[in-house]
């Protein structure tokens, strides 16, 4: 997965620019000053992370380790961060998968997320369908929507990445308006199934935690592992990677690249739908959330590296941890500035590694 940004030099991020971190060549002729200049931003970034985490931990541990201290709350906040990270990963992994494989930035990804949630919401609260059945239907339905989008609009201009991005933006505009017409402007929430509602005891401090959020964390982990195995270990995954590295050669060797890409787009879209159902159950569904989740997914992909599955996981975790901790642990009055921290995250990663933490710079 991580090696997918290597080809297609025309649009690779670092084209025509020397490696900012300094490759072997620059090390060979570097003095300590150059090394400091190259490593300085990394050190500052690392220092910021240590400072932030230190501040959070200092507050968490400030009243000792007892059950009346701040530690139980810290644990709950951390669990919330994990659940949010799970949701972000589900949403972002689909985007990074499609991008990594086909270099298509699906700007309608947020719309697919919201549409998936709305489909499940209609099925459960309007048609009275079982939640588990609804999530299955919604996931497959969004996969099909994505597939149709790919087959009708995107397949024939593969490689024109900007045009494809504009096409998906136009589609997202239409989808957003249609969703507003069909599902209204009111915020809706999907009711979780009885089995998954309620809370479960955590092994520490007699804490209880919502089962559904635990399930979200588990599902995100499971999907992540499945995707990794699928890409790295199965025959189909090998075909996919071959199709990315050299589509023409793969096709010449008898691989039907078109089908491979279509399947990949289908699965990436399914993930958006799945994330929408989880998001609609944990949070809510409302107009505008398509943009919000597109933004989260894009930040994850920028931070983690475009096309990298591990990067998506790390990016989701970083974003969720920053947002969750900032909401609780920033000094009072500073909470409106929580978004500034997200900016710092994106800016720091871009300054350090324009291709993202796990994205490979172009060859």
């Amino acid at each position: 997965m991580t090696d997918t940004t290597s080809n297609h030099g025309a649009s690779s991020p670092t084209r025509g620019r020397p490696d900012p971190i300094g490759g072997p060549a620059s090390i060979a002729r570097s003095s300590w000053r150059r090394t400091l200049a190259a490593r300085g931003p990394a050190l500052i970034g690392f220092g910021l992370v240590v400072l932030g985490l230190g501040g959070v931990l200092a507050q968490a541990l400030s009243k000792g380790l007892g059950p009346t201290g701040n530690l139980p709350i810290f644990i709950l906040v951390s669990m919330n961060a994990l659940a949010l990270a799970g949701l972000y990963f589900l949403a972002g992994s689909g985007l990074t998968l499609i991008f990594g494989l086909m270099r298509v930035v699906n700007m309608a990804h947020g719309s697919l997320y919201l549409l998936g949630g709305y489909i499940a919401w209609s099925l459960t609260s309007k048609a009275g369908l079982d939640w588990f059945l609804a999530i299955g239907v919604a996931t497959i339905a969004i996969g099909v929507v994505g597939l149709v989008m790919e087959e009708v609009f995107l397949r024939w201009n593969l490689g024109q990445d900007l045009r494809q991005a504009l096409i998906t933006i136009a589609i997202s505009l239409i989808l957003a308006d249609q969703m507003l017409a069909n599902f209204g402007a009111m915020a809706q929430t999907i009711t979780p199934p009885p089995v998954l509602s309620g809370s479960a005891p955590l092994p520490v401090y007699d804490l209880r935690y919502p089962i559904f959020k635990l399930v979200t964390i588990g599902v995100a982990l499971g999907i992540g592992i499945l995707l990794w195995v699928w890409i790295q270990r199965t025959r189909f995954g090998i075909l996919v990677r071959a199709g990315i590295d050299d589509g023409a050669m793969a096709a010449a060797l008898g691989v039907n690249v078109r089908v491979v890409f279509a399947v990949a787009f289908f699965i990436g879209s399914c993930l958006a739908g799945l994330a929408g159902v989880f998001g609609g159950t944990i949070l809510s569904l409302a107009p505008g959330l398509d943009g919000a989740f597109l933004l989260s997914s894009i930040i994850i992909v920028i931070v983690g590296g475009m096309g990298s599955l591990i990067g998506a996981a790390v990016g989701a975790l970083l974003l969720a941890v920053i947002q969750s901790y900032a909401a609780v642990y920033l000094p009072s009055g500073w909470s409106p500035y929580a978004m500034v921290l997200t900016f710092v995250l994106v800016a720091a990663v871009l300054a350090l590694k324009p291709s993202g933490l796990f994205g490979r710079a172009s060859a």
């Binding site: 025309a10 649009s11 991020p13 670092t14 084209r15 025509g16 620019r17 900012p20 270099r103 930035v105 609009f153 990445d161 900007l162 045009r163 494809q164 991005a165 504009l166 096409i167 933006i169 136009a170 589609i171 997202s172 505009l173 239409i174 957003a176 308006d177 249609q178 017409a181 505008g288 943009g291 933004l295 894009i298 930040i299 992909v301 920028i302 475009m306 409106p336 500035y337 929580a338 978004m339 500034v340 997200t342 900016f343 994106v346 800016a347 871009l350 300054a351 324009p354």
Partner: protein, 325 residues
């Protein structure tokens, strides 16, 4: 042949004449609702078109920068009682500075990466400004009026309309001039061949960053004009929807030609104002037009015009030359 050439030359003059005659001929409502919005939306779209066509940078941060300038101007002139001219200058200056920072961050990337990074930066800046209570964006800032010289933009928009028209023309001329200067030529070189330009001693990132700063200043000017036209500023003025609106206007008009920005803005504004009378789902219509344009004519309406122009010329040149193309 010469008659056709004359006709072609006449089109821009006719468009300009139509624009100049808008206030006396079409009345207050058209001037205020369509004219002013076309001009400021066209100006934001032009900042995007400038970056896209000459710098190869399709930026989605323009609305964010537009909002920063508008908001800062509104805040300075209403809450801090500053002179509107000074407030406007400060707003545009702040947008340019933030634009240079954004540009420096994003300039390491091109193409679709650039699009994503600028979208993220714009959305973050929107969220920051929407969240920070001191700016009062949540409730909106009301009563932001242009300097008294320019008159009332809502009730008697004629003077203000001509001011916006003049500003648009100045920006148009400035960009057309700038792309012919050594800086502009180098920028286009960086767009086409960053590696070769780097080898020749031009730092692509510096050129992209400077161009981005200039684009930000233009977007900032548009933001000031917009906040003066609406006499208010709110979070809704710079949300993701507006970002997409600007992109839609620029693409419908033609992302690769400067004049397309205002043409697209005009079409967009007319659809937005008269669309609701026909259907509640006029946004779908705008989206569909956007989609059709991207699919069929990447050059937008201006591109369609150029194609018609080329076809007419082929016909006029005679069948033999035409077939030989």
């Amino acid at each position: 042949m010469t008659a056709y050439q004359l006709l072609r030359r006449a089109i821009p003059v006719a468009v300009l004449a139509l624009a100049v005659l808008t206030p006396p001929v079409f009345g207050t409502y058209a001037t205020s609702a369509i004219g002013l919005k076309t001009l400021w939306l066209g100006l934001v779209a032009a900042s995007l078109t400038f970056l896209a066509s000459y710098g190869g940078m399709v930026s989605l941060a323009q609305v964010g920068l537009f909002g920063v300038a508008g908001l800062f101007t509104a805040w300075l002139s209403v809450d801090q009682k500053l002179d509107p001219w000074l407030a406007a200058g400060a707003g545009i200056g702040l947008a340019a500075v933030i634009g240079l920072v954004f540009g420096a961050l994003a300039s390491g990337s091109v193409g679709v990466y650039f699009l994503m990074i600028t979208l993220a930066l714009a959305m973050i800046s929107y969220n920051v400004f929407a969240a920070v209570p001191q700016f009062g964006l949540h409730e909106g800032i009301n009563g932001v009026f242009p300097p008294a010289v320019l008159g009332d933009p809502v009730l008697a928009p004629t003077t203000y309309f001509y001011f916006c028209l003049a500003a648009s023309l100045v920006v148009f001329a400035l960009i057309r001039y700038l792309v012919r200067t050594p800086f502009g030529i180098a920028l286009q070189g960086v767009r086409d061949e960053p590696t070769r330009m780097a080898a020749l001693g031009f730092n692509p990132r510096v050129y992209r960053t400077l161009a981005f700063g200039l684009g930000a200043a233009i977007a900032g000017l548009a933001g000031v004009l917009s906040v003066w036209s609406n006499t208010r500023m709110s979070a809704g003025s710079i949300s993701l929807e507006v970002t997409i609106d600007v992109l839609a206007a620029a693409v419908i008009g033609g992302l690769w030609r400067l004049e397309g920005a205002w043409l697209g803005a005009f079409v967009f504004t007319v659809l937005e104002i008269y669309g609701p009378a026909f259907t509640d789902r006029y946004v779908t219509i705008i989206g569909a037009i956007f989609l059709v344009i991207v699919l069929l004519s990447p050059g937008g309406l201006v591109g369609i015009g150029s194609r018609i122009d080329a076809a007419v010329r082929r016909v006029l040149a005679g069948p033999v030359a035409g077939e030989g193309r």
